[in-house]
């Protein structure tokens, strides 16, 4: 049985809107277990709505989306194929059996640059339809070097296509509060970070290690299965598991950063598809974006940033021995 799950994942200009049920990977709940939401058939075709946006024609939109699709398809450790099917007059919303990407007027979402909605088979986790809209309330640009004051459309398209493929939000980023109650990004380690870079920035046209690990986990190619490893463990506080802790694996050899969350009341976590090698683990509460950008349920953010006492090795083709990291309340 198929049903339209209330899954909407958005990229925000600043925080303030919710995107429920999202973490590293989007999921559907089956018999109490969360299964990955993925496309079971490829290539994944998409249509471009022929409506223009604020400063961008539909042809320019198509170009930006196709460049972003090519970026995801180029990840060598994953098997992702996205295919442009044509232009359409249909809006980028609703249920019509087509994946439609386009501009929509959403003045009510005054902090949402774009969002992705899904139709998912709640028995298998198969995604059957996904639409992406970009909010015409914002001025976009497709200039090769970016345009001051305008949001780079290719960067937002790359983020939303990540959602379309089944990725949730990454928490690898640092932000600060602004006077208007929103957040400003200080640094970001993933295209899938929920808060966009400043208007005019184009750095989010390039996937980061966290994005690549995530897509390789959802659609693993032979290289991802044989040549990568995982780290498993548990985060505890006062002997109890911590739900919703963010763990970042940092490789001192390569400099890459890949993160994931504890997703059970016991505080268990898995960071998969890592290049083999030793990693420093940093555990932090989710406090650089609103928790509901990642979780639909309450999480524990009352603990201090903590490092694992030792490095943990992600072995080639396997997983580490489980490590327990004990955190202290703030």
């Amino acid at each position: 049985m198929m049903k339209l799950l209330a899954l909407t994942a958005a990229i925000l200009l600043t925080a303030g809107s919710s995107s429920p049920a999202a973490y590293l990977k989007l999921g559907a709940t089956l018999d109490g277990h969360v299964i990955d939401a993925t496309w079971h058939q490829q290539p994944i075709g998409f249509f471009i709505s022929d409506r223009a946006g604020n400063g961008v024609t539909s042809t320019e939109l198509r170009g930006a989306v196709e460049r972003a699709a090519a970026t995801w398809s180029a990840v060598s450790s994953a098997t992702v194929r996205l295919s442009f099917q044509g232009m359409t007059s249909a809006p980028a919303e609703g249920t019509d059996g087509r994946n439609t990407i386009g501009f929509i007027d959403r003045p009510d979402l005054d902090r949402v640059l774009g969002a992705t909605s899904f139709m998912i088979d709640d028995q298998t986790g198969a995604i059957y339809e996904a639409d992406i809209f970009f909010n015409t309330s914002f001025a976009f640009s497709v200039a090769p070097d970016g345009q001051p004051g305008r949001v780079d459309l290719e960067s937002v398209a790359l983020h939303e296509l990540g959602h379309l493929l089944g990725l949730g939000h990454s928490a690898i980023g640092e932000t600060e509060r602004t006077g208007s109650g929103g957040r400003r990004v200080l640094g970001s380690g993933a295209v899938m970070f929920p808060i966009a870079l400043t208007a005019g920035a184009i750095a989010d046209r390039v996937l980061q290690a966290d994005d690549i690990a995530g897509i390789s986990d959802l659609y693993p190619g032979a290289a991802a299965i044989n040549e990568t490893g995982g780290i498993v463990g548990r985060i505890t506080k006062n002997g109890q598991g911590v739900n919703g802790a963010h763990i970042v694996a940092f490789s001192p050899e390569t400099g890459i950063l890949v993160g994931n969350f504890t997703l059970t009341p016991q505080g268990d976590f898995v960071i998969a598809r890592l290049p083999p090698g030793p990693y420093i683990l940093r555990v932090e509460p989710v406090d650089d974006a609103e928790p509901d950008s990642f979780f639909a349920t309450p999480i524990d953010a009352d603990f201090r940033v903590t490092y694992a006492p030792r490095m943990v090795v992600a072995p080639k083709g396997g997983s580490s021995n489980a490590i327990e990291i004990r955190v202290l309340p703030k």
Binding site: A201, F250, L257, P278, I280, R310, M311
Partner: protein, 234 residues
């Protein structure tokens, strides 16, 4: 300048004279290895610590342009700590002064990690990770012709080896090379002048250059070793 050159010349002459005297005395008084015989050495070696690199976890900064400035999440400085390990060396003497040697060491060095630059956490030293480390080497040992008495003889040595390091979980192996040069002395407690079953003590200092193995900057690293071994000729 003239005076300085004169002093060098005089010093050189004295050294040359001493070497001639020592060489002459070596055959009569200094102990020596037995030709074409095997010497087994066993004891302890102290491997000095050394840095294996500083690495920064960087996020992309929030700026315009294709290469905005980065944001540092943390800085990790890693180093091997000093470790004491057992050492076994087997030598085969080609002459009374020259021997080829093969050695093996097994130890548990620790990688310590210093964390700094984290805006949300104080600078701290993490206990780090304990490794299993194997070092197999081979080299040449030359007994210097200096007369230091009937029991003591200095030597110099140089060689190269194979390094194998296993991370704490024993799930990842890293390999490298080790090159060394150094010197020391043997002190014969028994024999040393042609008798059977010579035995004694040996002290040695080396400067090592390590290439590859666990290193976060992939640089050649220098570190010292000091060893004390008991030896017996068979």
């Amino acid at each position: 300048m003239i005076g300085f050159r004169g002093q060098v010349g005089a010093a050189g002459s004295v050294a040359g004279l001493l070497l001639v005297m020592a060489t002459a005395a070596f055959a009569q008084d200094s102990p020596a290895l037995r030709e074409h015989r095997v010497t087994i050495n066993a004891g302890a070696i102290v491997l000095g610590g050394y840095d294996i690199g500083s690495s920064s976890a960087k996020l992309r900064g929030n700026g315009t342009g294709s290469t905005p400035s980065s944001f540092t999440l943390l800085v990790a400085d890693s180093a091997f700590t000093r470790v004491t390990a057992p050492e076994l060396r087997v030598g085969v003497s080609l002459t009374k002064r020259v021997a080829i040697e093969f050695g093996a060491t097994f130890g548990h060095p620790r990688i310590g990690i210093g964390i700094s630059g984290d805006a949300e956490s104080a600078a701290q030293q993490l206990p780090g990770e304990t490794l299993e480390q194997y070092l197999f080497d081979g080299g040449v040992n030359w007994q210097v012709p200096l007369n230091l008495g009937r029991h003591l003889a200095p030597f110099v040595t140089a060689g190269a080896g194979y390094l194998r390091q296993l991370h704490e979980d024993r799930t990842l192996v890293e390999t490298g090379q080790n090159y060394y040069a150094g010197g020391g002395a043997r002190y014969w407690l028994r024999g040393g002048h042609g008798e059977a079953w010579p035995a004694g003590l040996r002290g040695e200092f080396r400067v090592n250059m390590r290439r590859r193995g666990i290193d976060f900057e992939d640089k050649m690293r220098a570190y010292p070793t000091v060893s004390v071994l008991f030896f017996i000729g068979v």
